[in-house]
């Protein structure tokens, strides 16, 4: 193995994995969800005229309950914690 570490090497930009973890943590905290409840975060694209290009879905999937889904018309990495918290409160209220 080469022990040389290139100081000029490109650093990895925090991206999707970190953003997904963050969105899940916010959802779990805001809704006081147990660890066994599945939260799924995905990003879909849409070419429908008049529809945003990208849609992120944060879904809370609980056995024997209707799934709760929050949709954002932006990429996963563009959604911040307060924005998600506000959307969760709106869905829950």
């Amino acid at each position: 193995m080469n022990g040389f570490v290139n100081p000029l090497a490109r650093r990895r930009v925090p991206g999707y994995p970190e953003a997904i973890d963050r969105l899940k943590a916010v959802t779990r905290e805001q809704l006081h969800l147990a660890n066994d409840i599945v939260i799924s975060v995905t990003e879909l694209s849409c070419r429908d005229p008049g529809c945003p290009d990208v849609e992120t879905i944060v879904a809370i999937l609980t056995v024997d309950k209707k799934p709760r889904m929050i949709r954002f018309h932006k990429r996963i990495i563009e959604i911040d914690g307060p924005e998600l918290a506000a959307a969760l409160h709106e869905v829950e209220s």
Partner: protein, 417 residues
């Protein structure tokens, strides 16, 4: 009535289906060609899925006449119905009608933009409902037997920042094969950073290097069990969500297909009947090399060149990597036209069209260039002439200034205070 797809036949009696995924230009077709040239994989049927309106990939796969291949346009992952099940059913029917076309395994090559969730939910029992006899036959005859993801060692780090599909393809895989690790422009020669990134997304998949001496294509596609529960909570969540989304009211299949990849992804098909001059192809490649960047997700195709129209060139561009064109010994089919497909990200139609036209409009560009040169030469000549005249005027003025005062005409001295 909807029934859940189940597979009741013992695994030994069903035909294994392995999915080959990987982002645009990751080297999926090259892996398929390696596989098809291996005698151990002789009885393999192939399903090739392409994004766009013109199929190119099936032309780039070398297939002898004994082998079966089904090509689907559009995107398997986008189809609201069960396109992959239709393709498998077609293979099953073809083999049933002609025993010479029998096969013992299937490889499904997805488009580079495929989201694996809808595809896997069609293939793994318990997710997507079965529609009619066709789906039940498929469920009875075929089983999911592995998910291979090709990962381009030179571009994936950047691609992962931009394209969520790339992340999902890696996460769903049970085997990951690093490609292009032999290229000199790989900024991470030992691939340690890339491997760590893959491990973060998928802690359990085997990671193989296609250029490793021990790499064996037959082992890569060796049928095994594909259990979604083994792939992690994230995968199960995506598949569960896919089931919820699939149950939502949708528009037609075609509309759904067009919608999944977003307006930022464009695809442009180009065909040309007249052979291209070698110099024009060289000009086109020069332009490509200058402008190729992450917006040009993929360019691939066959070019008929006038110096030897029976031996086309194969072009491959992946983001900023313009691979050297390779000349084939013959056309792969009867179609002798130049055919190129571009898949772009945030690149407008006009720019893509202009890029392609550099190959065919080279003569026009040559004429324009000649006119520009003529005009430039004329301008230079005028400037030079102007310079000569100015020098002459200055010289004349200098001579006048140097003349003795008495030689200056009286009229010229009258305004001197």
């Amino acid at each position: 009535m909807r029934a859940t797809l189940t597979n009741s036949m013992p695994a030994a009696q069903t035909i294994p289906v392995t999915v080959l995924s990987g982002f645009l230009g990751a080297g999926k077709s090259t892996l398929i060609n390696d596989l098809l040239s291996d005698p151990r994989m002789a009885d393999t049927a192939i399903v090739v899925n392409e994004f766009g309106d013109i199929g190119i990939d099936h032309e780039l796969i070398r297939l002898d006449q004994r082998k079966l291949m089904v090509t689907t346009l559009g995107c398997i992952c986008c189809a609201a119905g069960s396109d992959i099940r239709t393709s498998l059913y077609e293979l099953h029917e073809a083999a049933a009608k002609d025993s010479r076309l029998s096969f013992s395994r299937v490889i499904v090559e997805t488009t580079g933009l495929a989201d694996p969730a809808p595809l896997i939910s069609q293939l793994v029992p318990g997710y997507a409902p079965a529609f009619g006899l066709r789906d039940h036959v498929v469920a009875h005859r075929f089983r999911m037997a592995g998910f291979v993801c090709a990962v381009d060692a030179t571009t994936t780090e950047k691609t992962l920042e931009q394209h969520f599909e790339c992340l999902k393809q890696i996460a769903f895989a049970d085997r990951i094969v690093l490609t292009k690790t032999d290229l000199e422009n790989n900024a991470d020669p030992d691939n340690e950073r890339l491997r760590a990134q893959i491990r973060h997304l998928n802690p359990t998949a085997d990671i193989l290097d296609r250029h490793d001496g021990a790499f064996d294509i037959a082992s890569l596609f060796q049928p095994r069990g594909y259990v979604t529960a083994d792939r992690g909570e994230e995968i199960e969540g995506w598949l569960a969500l896919e089931r919820v989304l699939a149950a939502e009211p949708t528009e037609s299949d075609a509309a759904a297909r067009d919608k999944r990849h977003g307006a930022t992804i464009g695809n442009f098909a180009f065909t040309h009947d007249v052979p291209i001059a070698p110099a024009d192809l060289a000009d086109f490649l020069d332009v490509l090399t200058l402008m190729a960047d992450a917006r040009l997700l993929r360019l691939k195709g066959l070019v008929c060149v006038s110096d030897d129209p029976e031996r086309p060139f194969v072009l491959h561009v992946v983001q900023h990597n313009v691979h050297p064109p390779r000349r084939l010994n013959a056309w792969p089919s009867e179609d002798r036209r130049t055919r190129l497909v571009l898949i772009t990200h945030n690149l407008d139609h006009g720019t893509a069209k202009e890029l392609l036209s550099t190959m065919t409009d080279a003569k026009k560009h040559q004429k324009i260039r000649s006119k520009v040169i003529v005009v430039a030469v004329c301008l230079l000549a005028l400037i030079a002439l102007g310079g000569v005249l100015s020098t002459y005027e200055l010289a004349k003025a200098g001579i006048a200034a140097a003349m003795p005062a008495q030689q200056v005409p009286p009229s010229a001295r009258s305004d001197i205070p």
